[in-house]
């Protein structure tokens, strides 16, 4: 017979109170692991959801950017390709170039791989007298659009002026009372008015548009043009105009490029704004998830000590009841010559055994439940990258085992220090 054997016999004889104390440790250890596991699962799920959202957002952003690009395509800008020797101040002043370049340039542009310019419109423009009616006009010779051969045919933005016809500006039409279908003579050549433009409030109002060939003949400039209008140039970045200039310079080195109207910045800003808003929205989601995560962690940090303290109190009460029931046993053992420490070991062993067994069972149950919570998450249950770290499991086992001893210590100590004489006397 030994004190530990006696303690074991006592446990076997009083299973119910032992199981009650053990259950408390099972709950403390199990719930700690389950709470930690659940927190980790929530974190992992939140991270997974955020990652999926981010992925989806990136996809959507790309799509949106594409849609935005398409939607803002109409905001593309127009260019004028002028001869290099053209004085720009004069060009701005008169709205047309005085210098000329070969008409062939437009063909070279069309054959080039310049993807940025879609519609090419060669013109020959001169301010001159309409001698038949003695009026100053701006004569524009145009042959219609030259398709960009690398981009495939597109619906033309500007329809060509048909052979033998003429288009007149508003002021001319009004002052001369010209009508569509009316035959007029310009520099001795007969044209039928095919269209009268509405009022534009610009020099266009005194403009006359005729086929390019006719204009070259009338102005005695065969095979010459003085500008190529490049319409709906596609934006390819914030420095698009520089890029286009560089591209044009490769094919037409003795020309210069002037931007007629710019929407590049607005377009770029719109796209950047969409991107920024999406990133900010994602950031807000991440912050909200982090806040939720820290709130859960705070709750867990509060719940676990409460559960452990409650379980400790439970073990304390079970141990107190047990030692009070065993007063006469303690007294007779002390009378038989047992030292106080031997009695302490005898009384404390059940708390210790309850702690160890409870910690092992609680750990196993906690891991099983945590495993269930894991669901389809592809993470190991225990490990460095797992739901629960080995350190946590080991610490829980150790603390669970100690919980029994700590909670049962005081009742056992008090009982072992009792005066056996007074108990035996009262008995």
């Amino acid at each position: 017979m030994s004190v530990l054997k006696m303690a074991w016999f006592e446990i076997l004889r009083r299973k119910r109170s032992f199981l009650l104390a053990t259950l408390a440790v099972v709950i403390a250890v199990g719930s700690t692991l389950v709470v930690y596991g659940a927190l980790k699962v929530y974190d992992l799920r939140a991270t997974q959801v955020l990652a999926e959202k981010e992925k989806s957002l990136n996809r959507r952003l790309k799509q949106l950017e594409d849609e935005m690009r398409k939607a803002t395509l109409k905001l593309s800008f127009n260019l004028a390709i002028l001869p290099a020797k053209q004085n720009l101040r004069e060009w701005h002043d008169q709205d047309f170039a005085s210098a000329t370049m070969p008409e062939d340039y437009v063909q070279r542009m069309a054959r080039s791989k310049i993807l940025s310019a879609r519609h090419l419109l060669p013109t020959l423009t001169q301010k001159c007298k309409w001698p038949e009616i003695n009026r100053t006009i701006i004569l524009v010779g145009t042959r219609g659009e030259v398709p960009n051969l690398m981009k495939g045919p597109r619906r033309p933005l500007v329809q060509p002026v048909q052979d033998g016809t003429m288009v007149v500006g508003y002021e001319l039409q009004q002052s001369l009372d010209l009508k569509v279908g009316q035959k007029v003579k310009l520099m001795g050549r007969e044209f039928v008015i095919s269209k009268c433009h509405a009022e534009r409030g610009s020099k266009d109002d005194i403009g006359v548009w005729i086929p390019l060939q006719d204009a070259q003949d009338l102005l005695k400039m065969p095979g010459r043009i003085n500008s190529i209008l490049a319409l709906e140039c596609v934006c390819v970045g914030n420095s698009a105009i520089d890029q286009i200039r560089a591209e044009v310079a490769k094919f037409l080195p003795d020309t210069q490029v002037v931007e007629l109207g710019t929407h590049v910045v607005a377009r770029g800003e719109a796209r950047a704004k969409v991107k920024q808003e999406a990133i900010a929205s994602m950031q807000r989601e991440k912050e909200a998830a982090q806040q939720l995560q820290s709130e859960r962690a705070r709750l867990g940090a509060m719940v676990i000590p409460v559960v452990v303290i409650a379980c400790g109190l439970w073990i304390f009460l079970v141990a107190l009841v047990n030692t009070r029931k065993r007063r006469s046993e303690v007294a007779i053992l002390r009378a038989l010559g047992y030292r106080a420490t031997q009695v302490l070991v005898l009384l404390l062993f059940r708390s210790f055994a309850g702690g160890v067994i409870g910690a092992a069972v609680g750990c196993a149950m906690g891991l099983v439940i945590a495993g269930q919570l894991r669901g389809d998450l592809n993470v190991p249950l225990v490990g460095t990258d797992g739901m629960l770290s080995w350190q946590l499991v080991a610490a829980t086992l150790l603390i669970g085992s100690l919980l029994g001893i700590v909670a049962g210590w005081m009742p056992a100590l008090i009982a072992s220090q009792q005066d056996p004489a007074s108990i035996l006397k009262d008995a």
């Binding site: 006696m6 004889r13 010559g337 047992y338």
Partner: protein, 219 residues
């Protein structure tokens, strides 16, 4: 064997002193059984507890086999009790979760006898408990319980056995068995101090001492 010299025990209760035993002297020799009698509250149990090194007297000296147990440290006194003193109580005080054999062997935990199993077997046979050896106290009759308590008391063959109303709850047959055993143990050379109200039990002792109000009034 047991010598009490001018031993007094004073309890303080509610700021009042109660003198349970007052300058009492008693000498019990080896091989002698002494019965201690007296009315309730005369100090019998207090005297018994002082005699077995469990209750320190307020004054006076207790000597067991010539040694003063109260001069020893608590642990030494526990070891001393295990070797030199055996107890039997009216309430048996058996360990409820141990069977008969294990209850007897509880006396061996502090003593560590090499022949513990043989000694337990011999006592089980001596007290006619063979059939009950594996039963726990709840399954025993009161007579059997007291026999187990007696076997435990004499397990370490102490020089002094103290019995507090050992037959108080027993029927005559069981009382006789217990008294015979105590008397036999005294006859074998030990000192036995028996506290009892029962005149039949007292008559089995070699000597009867009467106590009243903490004093020996008659021997």
């Amino acid at each position: 064997m047991l010598k009490l010299d001018q031993v007094s025990k004073v309890y303080t209760s509610h700021h009042q002193e109660v003198r349970a035993v007052d300058r009492m002297s008693l000498d019990i020799q080896a091989g002698e059984a002494v019965a201690l009698q007296g009315p309730s509250g005369c100090g019998k149990t207090t005297m018994l507890l002082m005699s077995c090194a469990l209750l320190r007297p307020t004054s006076g000296t207790v000597l067991i086999e010539g040694n003063d147990p109260y001069a020893l440290s608590a642990n030494q006194r526990s070891a001393f009790r295990a070797r030199h003193v055996g107890f039997v109580f009216q309430q048996f005080h058996l360990v409820p979760y141990l069977n008969v054999r294990q209850n007897i062997l509880t006396a061996n935990v502090p003593a560590r006898r090499a022949d513990a199993q043989q000694r337990a077997a011999k006592l089980i046979q001596q007290f006619r408990l063979e059939a009950r050896a594996k039963h726990v106290p709840a399954e025993l009759s009161v007579g059997e319980k007291q026999r187990v308590a007696l076997a435990r008391a004499v397990f370490n063959q102490p020089a002094l056995v103290l019995a507090d109303e050992p037959t108080g709850n027993l029927d005559p047959d069981n009382a006789r068995i217990v008294l015979d055993a105590l008397r036999q143990y005294a006859d074998e050379g030990a000192a036995v101090l028996l506290v009892t109200h029962d005149p039949v039990a007292a008559a089995r002792a070699h000597r009867i001492v009467h106590l009243d109000k903490g004093h020996v009034v008659e021997e």
